[in-house]
Amino acid sequence: MAGSGKAHMRPDGDTVLTVEDLTVEFKLGKDKIVKAVSGVSFDLVRGETLAVVGESGCGKSTLGKAILQLPKPNSGSVNFLSTELTTLGKKELRDMRPAMQMIFQDPVSSLDPRLPVSEVLAEPLRVWKRGNQVEIDAKIDELLNAVNLDPKVVRDRRSYEFSGGQCQRISIARALALDPTMIICDEPVSALDVSVQAQILNLLQDMKDRYGLTLMFISHDLAVVKAVSTRVMVMYLGKVCEVAPPDELYQNTKHHYTRALVASVPIPDPERPISSGFIQGEPPSPMNPPSGCRFRTRCPAASEKCAAEEPQLREVAVGHFVACHHPIEE
């Protein structure tokens, strides 16, 4: 698309989360409005990992936070476990929070530097009165063991004594503390070295299997996404471009933007240098997005139709949806 549409929705599935026509706009000064997310719809089926991929400014992080109502979206609906979140009162929304958790990009900033690890993990348990001190202590040890940190060593330490990867493990443990149904991971590995990246990605997979989680995995890196996701949604300037299972998406790319993203992934192979051939320039400002298809200003296949009419998501292969007037033909 970058367009709209709901062809990719699965109303019959065991959905955990259904997002429809979600719109988030920020006011910047008097008449500057950043259109961060513009009418995005998708759903999450229990046990799947949906990856949301796009470059900076595409609205992927904003989307993740808007689902948790931090802050509330401007319009659209977010239905989580059959409860409409956007219209919930403060107290009812609070009651929903344990089931939906989030892991943030910056491993250091997401832990309070003043609190020892045991306090970081105890906080959600105390807020929700999950047991007495002994039970809480036991739970903390269990969580730390689950993320492969030795409780005896780490309990009393503070975040700045840990490396980025270890901080991220603690964040994961904290997100798991309340036995959530869904975790939104906002670029959880992009601040880490490659060797550590792999550890955290594996850990997330393990936790997903062990606790039966449903994940939404936000990332800018298609290669990272490939390893962990069961479904990928590509976003550009606040709109959805393409939705497909990862293998299908990479082998049978339909959207010109997705193709450019795939081609730009640096491959550690001297025979296959990365290519910038497919698109030029940089994304336009989200304050003043192009009409019709938002990608048309950089798209090699753009036509007049793309300026006039916004493409809708349609199914081009089983489970493969694309919002483009001129999808790539094999």
């Binding site: 490659v194 890196d221 290669a223 390893a227 299972p245 640096p266 550690p268 240098p273 910038s276």
Partner: protein, 324 residues
Amino acid sequence: MSSLLKIDGMSVTFATPRGNLRAVNDVTIELLQGESLGVVGESGSGKTVLSRATMGLLPGTATRTGTITYNGKVISELPKDEVRELWGTGMAMIFQDPMTALNPVRRIGSQLTESLTVRLGMDKKAAKLKAIELLKRVRIPDPESMLRKFPYQLSGGMRQRIMIAIAVSCEPELLFADEPTTALDVTVQAQVLDLITELRKESNMAMILVTHDLGVVAGHTDKIAVMYAGDVVEYAPTRQLFSNMKMPYTEALLKSIPRLETPTGSRLPVIEGRLPDPTKNEPGCPFANRCPYVQDKCRAEKPPLKDAGNNHFYRCWFPIGGEK
């Protein structure tokens, strides 16, 4: 081709409150004219310090030893003022974060023409014309209006292009590029890398490309130095390195990179453990505690840099595929 830069046995230590921190250990590297070298390593490997130390851009707490020869002249013992003569006109640098590497309170034009007027002695008019030409070379649309802009008015990709224009403005022979694309989006990263390669070809400029990403160096360098804990652990022509790697660390690093071919749901190979403490001087190979092929000798004695032929060097007792 003749030798442009030769670093011989360079070490860099920083004085810290916890003692001396060894950032770079006894590194020897040679670069020919027009050649490009990729320096790859994770954070804490000393790759950024290596490039800054070579140029002489270190803070006062650092001590550098070893010899640096540039164009046949030993520059490591020169006084600062004479080294500075080389900066800009001989060696230039582009930095990682285009958001912080341009002066926020000065216009693009004044930052771009500064080297031209101060270093090359051009008058204002000639410098302006040259600046416009430079902006065209880095593919910036409407260069004339660009001169009057401030950095905050530009996107990250544009700023990185400006920085490249500044770096190449005095036609240096050697370009240090310190993670030039890490802060950029992937599609922009590809464009900027292509641009740098093109500019190098045009003027036969050598480059040292510092990055954490083996994928970035693979397509844009002639040879690669892999760094770990301050050591160059493997040093080889690019194709040679990828086709015949000797060093277990290089292999582990390569394997841990997620790829588009990775089957969904598969486990990624990891490097366990962590870097050794750079303030302590422990015996043995610094990678020993993380190496899958570790043997007793590795823990006892640090391996020397060995020659595998074909300009391929490595630092391991038990290299992959055996010696030679």
